[in-house]
């Protein structure tokens, strides 16, 4: 089924690692004795699971940014919407175990003196419905937003700015108590997921494995898209949008498609994230979060998919380490990362590595810019490649 062309060399390695992690980490946590050097301690499980969710989020950003050239500064909104959809399911599972022991209403609604469940909470007690909404809510938002934006040909930084405004507007909205999403505090104090206690070791291991599988699945989906002809059209759009129109592709439809798929992946990442960290609140909508996601992609390598996921894990592991050891310095480090990566590592870790790897085996073909700004290929001796 999965051909070599679909995966590519790096893709195969990446997929193998993710699948190995999906199996080995939960096994090590559950089966190995606590003292063993290979044992993954309980507290690490949600942390590692969180990294995988971030990796999936980074993957979704890379799909639109790396391949279609859409720099989204609002993917955190899709992530958070997916998270809220899952959070709503988890809230309904609390049932009478809340502080106010109301069988239907979550605690914050009782606290606000609400008498009945608002209509948009209906159905969230059923997992299949909630799972559908995890994809549908961000997908719908992305579709509507993209439909307007791409049809009117908002591109480049303009698009980036309005995506940021979008997540900012949602941030403000979700802070409001009367929106019915728990306001400032968000949704938390979850008890069960599908009948299993969320805090239990087994549940956490399963959630971790699921996150890894979701990452693998997301990766395969993205690879399928970018290696298809549609993926080539996306790259064409990224590099020469109006040329693509003039050969007959309706650019807005292509962008809308990939944008919506990407939003749904981000929503899935958010949905897996929430039961592992145990809370979802409006701060997930903060524009700063979305921009941070972009830097994960840039660090790992824009347009490499596997690199983006790698970036999501590496940067967040770095964040955990920094905020534990040198909390004062984390923002300096993050800021410097933004600057240094854009200046010195435009292809990111994976992109640079691949270039070095392939460059080692092939005579270098360097690109120089001639006066017209047109890239002209020259071989390593400096002579123009002859035109026939």
């Amino acid at each position: 089924m999965i051909s070599a062309r679909l995966l590519g060399r790096t893709g195969t390695i990446f997929l193998a690692i993710v699948l190995a992690v999906a199996v080995l980490v939960p096994m090590s946590n559950l089966l190995l004795p606590v003292g063993s050097p290979l044992h993954v301690p309980d507290y690490m499980m949600p942390l590692l699971g969180k990294y995988l969710c971030y990796a999936l989020l980074a993957l979704s950003v890379d799909l639109v940014w790396g391949y279609a050239g859409i720099l989204s500064l609002g993917h955190g909104a899709f992530f958070a919407l997916g998270g809220y959809a899952m959070g709503m399911y988890l809230m309904r599972q609390i049932g009478t175990r809340g502080v106010y022991a109301n069988p239907v209403l979550p605690d914050f609604m009782v606290f606000l003196n609400w008498k009945e469940l608002p209509w948009y909470w209906w159905g969230f007690d059923h997992f299949p419905f909630a799972a559908l909404m995890v994809l549908a809510a961000p997908g719908l938002l992305a579709f509507v937003f993209g439909w307007f934006a791409f049809r009117s040909r908002v591109t480049g930084v303009y698009l980036s700015i309005i995506t940021q405004a979008m997540t900012f507007a949602l941030l403000l909205a979700f802070f409001r108590n009367d929106m019915g999403f728990g306001g400032n505090n968000g949704l938390t104090d979850f008890k069960d997921i599908l009948g299993f206690p969320v805090q239990a070791q087994g549940t956490r291991a399963a959630l971790f494995a699921l996150s890894a599988l979701a990452l693998a699945g997301g990766f395969l989906l993205c690879r399928f898209i970018v290696t298809s002809k549609l993926g080539k059209v996306l790259v064409a759009i990224r590099d020469a949008e109006s040329r693509t129109r003039f050969i007959g592709y309706r650019v807005e439809n292509y962008k809308l498609f990939v944008w919506t798929v990407s939003a749904m992946l981000a929503g899935l990442a958010g949905a897996l994230y929430v039961p592992q960290v145990g809370i979802i609140n409006p701060s997930e909508f903060a524009p700063a979060n979305s921009i941070e996601t972009v830097i994960w992609v840039a660090v790992g390598g824009r347009g490499t998919l596997a690199g983006a996921a790698l970036g999501g894990v590496v940067v967040n592991a770095g964040k955990t380490w920094f905020t534990g050891m040198l909390p004062e310095l984390w923002l300096f480090a993050l800021g410097a990362l933004f600057v240094l990566v854009t200046l010195f590592l435009p292809k990111g870790i994976l992109g640079t590595f691949t270039e070095w790897w392939t460059g080692r085996r092939r005579p270098a073909v360097a690109e120089i810019e001639d006066e017209d700004g047109v890239a002209r290929a020259i071989d390593s001796r400096g002579a123009p490649v002859p035109a026939e």
Partner: protein, 534 residues
């Protein structure tokens, strides 16, 4: 009931007016004694008596009563006034005296007594030499609607020269006339007219309260007058909202105008723009710190000292950023966006490390505090100053871009970078200067914003999205567009706020701007022509 005592008060007032004050002292002393009775009705009678006596101390006694500083000694029914500082005065003579505090008891008040005291104060001060006191007195009568004061008002009107006071008196008379069942229809019609001219909430309330017993003609007129006042008030409210909107628009303009230069001229998305504003605000804080400790007498001028310094600090940081980072990213707007975002994080954390995360106190000079009333609008001075300041900055930039050689070069680079370069303009130098200028202007904005916002490391964050929306909405590369954009967003925000609430209003506005950008992706005042696409 107060009404029962109309004749007495009217009579007493006539006496005052006629200047027949021979029995004054006795009437005053007698009335004073009734305060000691410790009964509300007696106290009320005492107030009326004191007011009617025309005694020079009458006003002081009643105002002391109102403030709960009128004390009685039950043993000998003596009455004392305690001044706010705590000293005691004999109410009969006005001379300072002493008494055992344990024997003294404050005259008790209830609402009826308070009303009577207010009405009495109104009458007592109708002839005060200070016109402001007279207006206050008229206002007291206007509120109390005490028909007993009518005669006093009438005579005061006859004697009054000052047109402002006269108007207040007439309004007081109108207020009484409308409440008085036996007033003539003609008087009431005239009263309605006076109230319509007064045109504020108080007048509206009176017109709404016309008793059903009043003649139909009067009631009809009152209805008309009320609705005309209502629409006027609604208009005034809109005007007030617009004034707030202009003020918010000026803030947005200040925050965004530097961005209009860097983004508009150079196409550089500077996400650290908000931090330039923050640096300006912290410069103001530093200047004030130095002034507080070394030259406290200069405090009033602190903002003027801070302005050039903020421009230099933010401008220098801007040039540094341009030279160390942005220069290498020209033509790659998305990367520039990310790199400058990184710089903004670094600047925020740097300021947090140096000054701490908490808000810093920036003082407001005396000349910027307080407010003015303008045709019923309340405007605070600091907002007015910011509006004027934003205008000044805008005009200065406009002039600078039009009439200086740097401005000419900047415009040349905006319109056609390659051609400008070919003509010998050092585009890299122009870029650095332009970026410095934009950043410096942001620093100046920080000085102004330190007056109305919390000076904290997050100050800039709050403005960055708004600023971008303003610039994009107005049209990139056009200062006028930025002005119109800032004012439209500011005013729309303030007009939406009362309707939709602050947060929802803001959300609606964001959505509206997003939709607008989709409709006109290049803003209100887009540059047009051949080179736009390049």
């Amino acid at each position: 009931m107060v009404l029962r005592n109309f004749p007495a008060i009217a009579f007493a007032l006539c006496l005052i007016v006629l200047g027949a004050g021979s029995a004054r002292a006795d009437a005053y002393t007698d009335a004073l004694a009734r305060f000691a009775a410790d009964s509300y009705s007696e106290t009320e009678a005492a107030i009326e008596g004191v007011a009617a006596s025309g005694h020079p101390l009458a006003a002081e006694v009643v105002s002391a009563l109102q403030a709960g500083r009128l004390l009685v000694r039950a043993a000998d029914r003596a009455v004392f006034i305690r001044d706010p500082a705590g000293g005691l005065k004999d109410a009969r003579t006005g001379e300072a005296t002493t008494a055992n505090a344990a024997d003294l008891k404050a005259v008790r008040l209830n609402n009826r007594v308070r009303r009577a005291a207010d009405a009495a104060m109104g009458q007592l001060t109708l002839r005060a030499p200070d016109p402001r006191r007279r207006i206050e007195a008229a206002a007291a009568v206007f509120k109390s609607r005490d028909a007993g004061a009518l005669a006093a008002i009438e005579s005061a009107i006859a004697a009054e020269q000052d047109p402002g006071v006269l108007r207040a008196f007439r309004e007081a008379r109108a207020s009484i006339a409308l409440a008085k069942p036996d007033a003539s229809a003609a008087d009431q019609v005239a009263a309605v007219e006076v109230l319509r001219a007064k045109g504020d909430r108080d007048a509206l309330a009176l017109l709404r309260q016309i008793p059903p017993s009043a003649p139909d003609e009067v009631r009809g007129l009152a209805q008309l007058a009320a609705s005309s006042i209502e629409s006027r008030l609604a208009l005034l409210q809109r005007a007030q909202d617009v004034a707030y909107g202009v003020s918010l628009g000026s803030v947005l303009l200040l925050a965004a105008i530097g961005l209009a230069i860097t983004f508009g001229v150079m196409g550089v998305i500077n996400m650290a723009h908000g931090e330039m504003v923050m640096l300006g605000a912290y410069t103001t804080f530093m200047v004030q710190e130095v002034i507080r400790t070394r030259f406290p007498e200069l405090f009033g001028a602190s903002l003027f000292i801070a302005l050039p310094l903020a421009f230099l600090v933010a401008g220098a940081v801007g040039v540094l950023i341009e030279h160390s980072v942005i220069r290498f990213l020209y033509g790659r707007p998305l990367e520039t966006l990310l790199a400058t975002w990184g710089i903004s994080l670094i600047l925020q954390q740097a300021v947090r490390s140096i000054f701490g995360a908490q808000n810093r106190e920036v003082g407001t000079p005396a000349w910027m505090s307080g407010s003015v009333d303008l045709w019923g609008l309340t405007l605070t001075w600091n907002r007015i100053v910011i509006v004027l300041f934003a205008t000044a900055v805008f005009v200065a930039l406009l002039v600078a871009l039009k009439h200086t050689s740097l401005g000419l070069q900047i415009r040349a680079v905006t319109q056609n970078r390659r051609m400008a370069g070919a003509m010998g303009i050092r585009t890299d130098w122009v870029d650095a200067m332009t970026f410095g200028l934009g950043s410096g202007v942001a620093g100046i904005a920080g000085v102004a914003l330190s007056q109305i916002d919390n000076v904290s490391p997050n100050l800039g964050q709050g403005y960055i999205i708004d600023s971008f929306l303003v610039v994009v909405f107005g049209g990139v590369g056009n200062l006028w567009g930025t002005l119109v954009g800032a004012m439209s967003i500011g005013i729309a925000n303030k007009l939406l706020e009362p309707v939709a609430g602050a947060v929802l209003g803001k959300i609606l506005l964001l959505v509206a701007v997003i939709l607008f950008i989709q409709k006109r992706p290049r803003g209100l005042f887009a540059l047009k022509g051949r080179f736009v696409e390049a």
